[in-house]
């Protein structure tokens, strides 16, 4: 395939319009099938027994009583999931996380599972399983876990990335460093320096749909899995590897998805459901409860971050430095590393240094959450940037504009930027009416910037043209935000036909080549690239068929606005042939017409956003109210602007919850105190104002239409924008997220007390 992904200016007919989404009616009428909506004849109910302890050695598990309970068809423990990971440490961790092998590493860690004829029997069976635990000391706080005196979670782990190989094991699994220049020298040139420490608590993606799957293993060794996931191809690979199957013998179908935000990129329940089905010889449905989702899926990191930034009187930053400690749960990760890469990515810096530490704690294994790791780093950096602007006496927007990265800037994490949107989003914010709106008593305004890399990845798409001229588009990226509508627009654009003529579906793993996970804001970016490529391949076939119908050379046929047109003087008398006419004749001209595409979508353009937020603080109670919120973000090219706006609003809404109230609260016993939506407070509708959006379009040079991913960047600035607003309203710098009313009131009172 000689597909050219480079951007070229064009006038769009379909792209940029706002048609109704094809999955909309089914979703609002309840007909759409989510993970728990799949059912099979003879299916059993799967349930998981979980450790109530934060850290414990599993001495023995006795399942005999549970096995004897009438209606129980299978009971499994780690013994039923042999270690087939063959030295692959990351896969071993996934296996151990699915079912604890020797130690329970957090409150909620799976230790056994049952499949029974109904939910009541399954629940009773769990109560009959006897687990003999030997309790171990635990640690759940990221700073505590770094201390030498902290209980060791894994004594085989020695910190990587240190100059000298350590002699003692540690909860710090890795140190990473980024930057350039000499920060020491840079701080020497500064007239003002701000230095501050920040903490953020652990949050969950809070997707409304809990993890759910139905697994059916046949006695011939083939299997089907219906599951709510962001990446059914990756789930297939992982499940097949953990269960010792060939990937092609496991067919995975992704359901509609009621939110993922990075949290449905890891397998937890699926290998367990497959192992139960294999043992029971019947299909097994496994649906997590909300309690299980909180305790045992993958929340984001809790963090502790130190930032130091220096600037000259004229507002030029001379040096910037940050140390970032991120919790990973009980298994190694690279979360602090990502935080260290993104921390200063918005700025043009001569001297910058960031150091990240990955820290093990007795909490669930950290998973991705929308621009993973970036919001916390942005919170710390953008808070310090605001404070520094204030010390210099500069407007916070002007200070950021002065130091903003631009095309040709060497980023703090290494690469040199192409055309980017940080400057334009700042200029847009500077000129936005929101910035000039008056504020009342106890009200404050804050703004902040955010960055995210975006990802492209492996992508495979099929475009099939029916004999009636309608088009089926089969993609392998899960539709997490309206991508079926966006990709249908792209297919319609390329083919020159109406949007309504295209029907997009998400194909299963046996119907399409491998696709990477729908993460890194890649769904529309990468699948639109593959759709353009597939459509262009289909057009090539359409031209060939038209040439055949006319009996002229294919080089004399061009494709214009949904029609084959014969070019050249000698073909002047030939009328156009529509896609429909060519499709109708396809049975006689060589059979079905299709276009395929397999590619690695390189060149996902980096993404920037700037947010503005107004907050009112009740100085007597610490209560907050978000009065107004504005998102300005670069989309490259907004394929379906309504869904781009939806992504902007969704990220801001989640960021508001994270900033103000959401947090994992652990007791001294290492148990999660609030595994439910009552005490884990995501915002409800009435907590939020209408979130205003402004889409900027700075084309990505590496996509034919200029598209950039838009899904994640919108959650990067909110923690900082809200912290700056609250700090301005309350008159005291807030350095601990979430800024819950007790924390705000305590900070106000401490400030009053001097």
């Amino acid at each position: 395939m000689n597909f050219d992904p480079r951007f070229s200016t064009r006038n769009f007919a379909s792209v940029g319009t706002r048609p109704i989404r094809p999955d909309g009616v089914d979703k609002v009428t309840g007909r759409a099938r989510y993970g728990a909506d799949f059912n099979m004849a003879g299916q059993l109910v799967g349930r998981v027994l979980r450790s109530p302890h934060a850290h414990a050695t599993i001495r023995k598990i006795d399942t005999s009583k549970a096995e004897k309970l009438p209606g129980v068809k299978a009971v499994i423990t780690a013994a039923d999931l042999s270690d087939l990971t063959d030295g692959d440490a990351a896969m071993y961790d996934i296996l151990d996380n699915c079912m604890a092998r020797t130690k329970a590493l957090y409150d909620g860690h799976a230790v056994a599972a049952v499949a029974a004829v109904d939910a009541r029997t399954a629940r009773q069976a769990l109560k009959l399983i006897e687990v003999d635990y030997e309790l171990l000391p635990h640690v759940t706080d990221v700073d505590e876990a770094m201390k030498h005196s902290a209980p060791l979670i894994n004594d085989a782990i020695f910190t990587e990335g240190l100059e000298e190989k350590p002699v003692k094991p540690s909860n710090v699994t890795k140190r990473s460093q980024f930057g350039h220049g000499d920060v020491h020298q840079g701080f020497g040139h500064a007239d003002f320096i701000v230095e501050r420490s920040f903490k953020t608590e652990q949050t969950h993606q809070g997707y409304i749909e809990p993890h759910a799957c139905v697994a059916s293993v046949s006695s011939d060794g083939t299997a089907d899995l219906w599951v709510c996931t962001q990446g059914h191809f990756v789930y297939r690979q992982h499940c097949a590897q953990l269960l010792g199957m060939e990937a092609s013998k496991l067919r995975v179908t992704s359901s509609e998805i009621g939110g993922g935000f990075g949290g449905k990129t890891h397998v937890w329940a699926e290998p367990v459901a497959l192992a139960l089905s294999r043992k029971a010889g019947r299909p097994v449905k496994l649906v997590m409860t909300r309690d299980e989702v909180f305790r045992a899926s993958g929340p984001t990191s809790a963090t502790s971050i130190d930032v130091k930034i220096g600037a000259r009187k004229d507002g030029t930053i001379t040096a910037a430095e940050a140390t970032l400690r991120y919790s990973c749960g009980p298994y190694p990760g690279s979360w602090a590393e990502i935080g260290a890469m993104t921390a200063f990515a918005c700025y043009k810096l001569e001297n910058v240094k960031t150091v990240g530490y990955e820290v093990l704690v007795n909490r669930p294994k950290t998973a991705a959450y929308r621009a993973p790791s970036a919001p916390m780093a942005a919170f710390a950096v953008e808070s310090a940037v605001d404070e520094l602007a204030k010390e210099i006496g500069m407007d916070p927007v002007d200070f950021r504009i002065r130091n903003a990265a631009q095309e040709g800037t060497r980023s703090s994490y290494g690469p040199v930027y192409g055309p980017i949107g940080i400057g334009p989003t700042l200029e847009a914010v500077k000129n936005h009416p929101h910035m000039k709106a008056p504020l009342g008593k106890n009200q404050g305004r804050g703004m902040a910037c955010g960055f995210w890399f975006n990802f492209g990845g492996q992508t495979c798409t099929d475009l099939n043209i029916g004999m009636d001229g309608s088009v089926s588009l089969a993609v392998g990226t899960v539709d997490v935000g309206g991508s079926r509508a966006s990709l249908s627009l792209v297919a319609a654009e390329e083919l020159g036909i109406a949007y309504e003529q295209v029907k997009a579906i998400v194909a299963d793993t046996s119907s399409l080549g491998y696709n990477d996970m729908t993460d890194g804001s890649r769904g529309t970016f990468s699948s639109s690239m593959a759709t353009i490529s597939a459509a262009r391949n289909a057009i090539k076939v359409l031209r060939e068929r038209a040439a055949q119908m006319w009996d002229i050379a294919v080089d004399d046929v061009v494709w214009e606005q949904g029609h084959a047109v014969a070019k050249g003087e000698k073909h002047g008398n030939l009328g156009k042939l529509s896609l429909k006419e060519i499709a109708a004749a396809s049975g006689k001209t060589g059979g079905p017409i299709a276009g395929h595409s397999e590619l690695v979508a390189d060149g996902a353009g980096v993404s920037f956003a700037t947010h503005i937020c107004d907050i009112e603080v009740d100085p007597e109670t610490g209560a907050t109210r978000v009065l107004r919120y504005t998102v300005v973000q670069d989309a490259g090219k907004a394929v379906h602007p309504t869904y781009v706006e939806g992504q902007y609003q969704g990220g801001a809404a989640q960021g508001i919850g994270w900033a103000l109230n959401e947090e994992y609260i652990y007791g001294k016993d290492g148990r999660l105190q609030n595994p439910g939506f009552l005490d884990y407070r995501i915002p409800v509708c009435s907590d939020l104002p209408m979130i205003d959006t402004q889409i900027l379009e700075i084309p990505n040079p590496n996509h034919p239409y200029g598209v950039r991913g838009v899904g994640e960047t919108s959650i990067v600035p909110p923690l900082a924008a809200i912290a700056n607003a609250v700090s301005n309203a309350a008159g005291v710098r807030m350095s601990h997220i979430p800024m819950s009313p007790p924390r705000i009131l305590a900070a106000i009172e401490a400030e009053r007390a001097g």
Binding site: R123, D291, E620, T621, G622, A623, L660, N661, I665, Q673, N674, L678, D679, R681, P683, V684, S686, D687, S740, P741, P742, L745, A746
Partner: protein
């Protein structure tokens, strides 16, 4: 598990009195069903009282109001007379859960769930409400505040059902109000709360007062010193400050996932002050 829907209060009492295992009364189910789904309780017997006709009525009597045990909180808000007489009680009932929950939940259920954070209870205690209890031994009337004895525990004996909440007829120049603190705008549980009920004389001087605090102790607190601090005075700035100070001191809260001791004490004072201001205005005080 047996589910029974009796048609008379006597049958309901008989079923509960004669039950051998664990028994639960089902009205709106907004606590019971959630606890059952969460696997926290699995009653052997569920007695659904919604088919007992007289329990679904709000009656206005010569003495005041009688609110049946199966009346959903949303219905309280539809009674103009009740709203006019006891706006604080109604606003408390209408803060529970969400609109959907209010269509099911009842104030008797809220009372018998015996959560220290129950929204309607401080307002009812401030209002001096009484509970009409039916049991194997007959009927008795007790103050609402004596029903919960600790988190999840009540003073009701086996077989006893609260059939109605009784509210007095209003004296002239009276007003009540309820406020709670939650970090969200709805769908939440009170971190701390305050109910204030006042009666004034012609000059705006407080002649009778009841102040109750929620989520400030294992059961709702009736703070008599708070009432004493404002009786005989107009509710001016100084009186409000005294009210706040007394409430701050009267709290015996705990540190938990919803708030700290310090936070609850301070906010209890602030809410008492604010609820007092509203109740005073409703009573016609200026």
């Amino acid at each position: 598990m047996r589910y029974i829907r009796p048609l008379s209060i006597e049958d309901a009492v008989g079923l509960l009195a004669g039950s051998t295992g664990t028994a639960a009364i089902l009205a709106g189910g907004s606590d019971l069903l959630v606890r059952m789904k969460g696997g926290f309780v699995e009653p052997d017997l569920i007695v659904d009282i919604k088919a007992i006709e007289e329990l679904s009525e709000i009656r206005e009597t010569a003495d005041g109001f009688s609110i049946g045990a199966a009346v959903p909180c949303a219905v309280l808000g539809e009674s103009a007379a009740l709203k006019k007489a006891w706006p604080g009680v109604v606003e408390a009932a209408k803060l529970i859960g969400s609109k959907q929950v209010q269509g099911r939940c009842t104030i008797v259920g809220n009372l018998c769930n015996a959560s220290p954070a129950a929204d309607s209870v401080p307002a009812l205690v401030a209002a001096g409400a009484r509970a009409s209890v039916v049991g194997p031994g007959g009927r008795r009337t007790i103050p609402v505040g004596s029903v919960p004895t600790g988190p999840g525990k009540t003073s009701l004996a086996k077989g006893e059902i609260i059939e109605a909440i009784l509210l007095d007829k209003r004296a002239p120049r009276s007003g009540d109000a309820y406020l709670r603190f939650i970090p969200r705008t709805e769908m939440d549980i009170a971190v701390v709360s305050a109910g204030v009920n006042l009666t004034l004389d012609e000059h705006g001087v407080v002649t009778a007062a009841r102040v109750a605090l929620g989520a400030a102790a294992p059961t709702v607190l009736l703070v008599e010193e708070a009432a004493e601090a404002i009786i005989g005075r107009k509710l001016d700035e100084a009186a409000l400050e005294r009210l706040a100070k007394v409430c701050f001191g009267a709290c015996r809260p705990i540190d938990d996932k919803r708030g700290t001791i310090e936070f609850r004490r301070k906010v209890a004072g602030v809410l008492a002050k604010r609820a007092g201001t509203t109740a005073y205005a409703r009573a016609g005080g200026k």
